[in-house]
């Protein structure tokens, strides 16, 4: 799995120059069992076996993996986390937890996370409706064998009251360097949250979001149809895309040489550095990505940049090297990896 890129990182799909990936997740629970956090070890074990049986009976794709966490090392679990196949909470859990992953990594099913099942579809670019269709199909298959906890009044019953009803969480990961550079990002994101959506961004040292990546998702799950929830999110995201496009245009117009210089420098550092931290790598890769998206940087493939985003995350670096490494060693090995991957890339 580690040697190849997940389908959602291909850099393809609609509006892939701004929307990195689209994800739709459904929370489901099996009737007759307590929620995972409240269940006894025996119940959790029985649940796992019941769900595994249903998945073997109705697999999410012809080729898939069913992995129990007790068979994974800590690093391997972190890899699944870095690949967005399991959640942070799930990565820390121990026995009787599992995940099912389709060969192309588009479909994953977390078992015994906060909810008994979390069905997830992750796709490259902006295609939330396709993701919803696929996750619904997987859901329809599994409900043939599994009786879900459901009530006509409250819908799908979930461990946390914030997920009840449809159990849906739809989100997009957006790359918004234009709005960040023009300092319009706070304004746009605040408008987005006013419309009832949640925005998340990770900030490292300094003021800029690391990698200029933002995740935007729906917050409400009860009282609206799944399609309506996704359509509303789509509509708002389309507006953010437009804002980002005009920000990029304005930037190119304003100070083209400066942008060109910044992108060229990022490429230079990545291509020749011998020590690099994951947050520096993230930020430089974001700049590189911006260069490709703006058409300033020719000759470098978006897919290579996406791959590097993933492969330079701490657990991936360690897995590729086959051992646990100190931070300093990691920084060196990360730089080696990037140099190797960019060896054949040249600016036109």
């Amino acid at each position: 799995m580690i040697s190849k890129t997940a389908a959602w990182l291909e850099g393809s799909g609609p509006d892939a120059d701004i929307v990195v990936s689209s994800r739709v997740r459904l929370a489901r629970n099996v009737v007759g069992f307590p929620f995972s956090h409240w269940a006894t070890e025996d119940e959790i074990k029985e649940l796992l076996e019941t769900i595994e049986k249903a998945i073997r009976h109705y697999p999410p794709s012809p080729k898939y993996l069913l992995i129990r966490f007790e068979d994974l090392s800590e690093i391997e679990r972190k890899i699944l986390l870095e690949r967005h196949l399991i959640s942070r909470e799930h990565a820390q859990a121990k026995e009787y937890r599992a995940v099912t992953i389709s060969a192309d990594e588009q479909v994953s099913i977390m078992i015994n996370e906060e909810d008994h099942l979390r069905l997830q579809v992750l796709m490259s670019g902006f295609q939330l409706m396709n993701a919803l269709d696929l996750v619904n199909k997987v859901d329809d298959l599994l409900e043939k064998d599994l009786e879900y906890a459901y009530s006509p009044q409250f819908g799908y019953l979930t461990a946390c009251p914030t997920n009840v009803g449809s159990g849906i969480r739809a989100s997009v990961m957006m790359h918004l360097p234009g709005l960040v550079m023009l300092r319009q990002i706070d304004q746009v994101l605040q408008a987005v949250t006013k419309l009832g959506l949640t925005v998340r961004g990770w900030y490292g040292e300094g003021s800029e979001a690391s990698g200029n990546l933002f995740q935007i998702s729906n917050q409400l799950t009860l009282g609206k149809k799944e399609e309506e929830i996704v359509q509303k999110l789509e509509k708002i995201i389309k507006q953010v895309i437009e804002h980002e496009r005009s920000a990029r245009k304005a930037l190119l117009k304003k100070d083209f040489p400066k942008i060109q210089d910044r992108i060229g420098r990022a490429f230079g550092v990545l291509k020749y550095a011998h020590q690099i931290s994951s947050s520096e790598a993230m930020n430089l890769l974001s700049t590189l990505r911006t260069g490709i998206e703006l058409g300033v940087l020719k000759g470098v493939d978006l897919k290579v940049v996406n791959e590097l985003f993933l492969l330079t995350q701490p657990a991936h670096v360690q897995k590729i090297l086959g051992k646990k490494l100190s931070q300093k060693d990691r920084d060196e090995k990360r730089a080696d990896l990037i140099r190797k991957m960019l060896r054949d890339e040249h600016l036109e």
Binding site: P34, N136, C160, P161, T198, R200, G223, K224
Partner: protein
Amino acid sequence: MQCEVCQKKKATVHYTEIVNNQMVKINLCEGCAKGKGIDIYSKFSVSDLLSGLAEIEETEIAHGTQECSRCGMTYREFKDIGRFGCPECYVAFQDFLKPLFEAIHKASRHVGKVPKRWSKHTSQETELKTLEDELTKAITREAFEDAARLRDRIKELKEAKRRHS
């Protein structure tokens, strides 16, 4: 800057989230950030919401010890943890849930997807509601023959339902 959780290590992760139009900044060390992860928001907000609701507050004094007969979780425990114990808790704590869901979701009734094995039940439920409405109307306009026919059909449906459950 110190980590706001462990108060020991240096805060290197400055996590920002915009929730309900408010910017929340939390400064964490790397370890605590990993531990807290993205769930910071939902864990805080549910118990905040629960303790912030006056309506729930009142009834809670009387029913704080009310517990789910299936899994043993009390309402007070639900309030502290912010998570239900089992699907049956939704029945046990039903009285408190409407205001809670209105506060979180601005709605308290599901209108989305219905599992296949429930779709038959749901259509029966809808039929029952329609028949009951018609019965009331029939009685009002004193159409007693219609009313008798409707009453029999309702009885039939209700019995079928009882046999099923």
